[in-house]
Amino acid sequence: MIRDRRKGNHSMLPQTLVCTLLALGLGGIAPASAHHSYAMFDANNLVTFDATVKEFQWTNPHSWLQVMIVDDKGVAQEWSLELGPLVALHRWGWKPHSVNPGDKVKVSLNPLRDGTRGGRLMTIVLPGGETLSGQGVAPAPIPAASSSH
């Protein structure tokens, strides 16, 4: 991707440069899928269910997994599970058809605080046994606190 064809006074900057942010000590940086607050999800509550895939929405700003989960009364209920954006999922090993309607999966999620059937998908075990993350790699250390001058 880098094409440093230019020779001149400013050769430290190529004509195109694709790069990612590693760290920013400016009061911390937001999560990978920093698009909205996650206050609606209970981050301290990780629950796991056997589920059947109804639909996989491979979209931005978030991908969504619609699954059927059997409740305590034996009734299948639809849940909406939020994932990261597809551009990030792709880099985390997902593909548009990593899951398909009818797949039997195991999902681990942070549920919605208000009791609505939904949550933030943290991991999924696919029918073949492969585990994928719904939110990316393990959290990294928080950068140093801000500096002022």
Partner: protein, 203 residues
């Protein structure tokens, strides 16, 4: 990379803006988080673009060096830096997401100066800034695969002192910028600001 949710530290806010942040945090605790522009699929704005990790940025050097273009993948963030003019006159400026950016070289350091960022109201997902926000970036390619961006936020209304930090970018020569159109926003907010998930995207 990914960092834990909401890791924001304290900024040196003026009393007026510290009160705004306090209220936003209280609202969030009550299940009514502050809604930044990108929650509605609007542009994130320059400040949030530079304080949010993970997504790649592609930098274009064009028009014989008279213009630098920076594109960040998420939400298609894009802004231009003009190296051939000063800032526009005050009577030509208006509140923008990415502002009016001009640049010049100091040796191998590209200095980017941005003003008129009043279309957004948060440095990140929650910390307030005013329309007086002034951002200075000093971009320096310190090695073949490492680019440092020393960023200074200055805001006479919201910050008691300027804040400076350095973002470190890693070259990914084999990556492509992917399409990121915001088409499926399912987080909805009622008239009281309560956040819920809808069954489908907003019309």
């Amino acid at each position: 990379m990914q960092t834990p949710d909401r890791p924001f530290k304290t900024y040196p806010l003026t009393p007026e803006y510290a009160a705004i942040l306090k209220q936003r945090r209280a609202d969030e605790a009550a299940g009514k988080p502050y809604q930044v522009a990108q929650n509605r699929c609007l542009p994130a704005g320059l400040a949030a673009t530079m304080t949010t990790g993970a997504y790649p940025i592609e930098i274009f050097y064009q028009k014989g060096g008279q213009e630098i273009l920076l594109q960040k993948e998420n939400v298609g963030a894009l802004y231009r830096v003009y190296l051939n003019r000063p800032h526009k006159n005050a009577d030509e400026l208006y509140p923008m997401f990415y502002g009016d950016s001009i640049g010049h070289w100091e040796g191998n350091v590209l200095v980017v100066d941005t003003v008129s960022l009043g279309a957004t109201a948060a440095l990140d997902l929650i910390t307030p800034h005013s329309e007086a926000l002034h951002v200075v970036q000093r971009l320096h390619r310190v090695s073949y695969d490492t680019l440092e961006d020393e960023i200074t936020f200055e805001d006479a209304k919201a910050l008691t002192t300027p804040v400076t930090a350095t973002a470190v970018f890693k070259l990914h020569a084999d990556w492509e910028i992917e399409e990121y159109e915001c088409t499926n926003e399912r987080l909805m907010f009622d008239e009281h600001g309560n956040q819920t998930i809808s069954k489908s995207a907003a019309p």
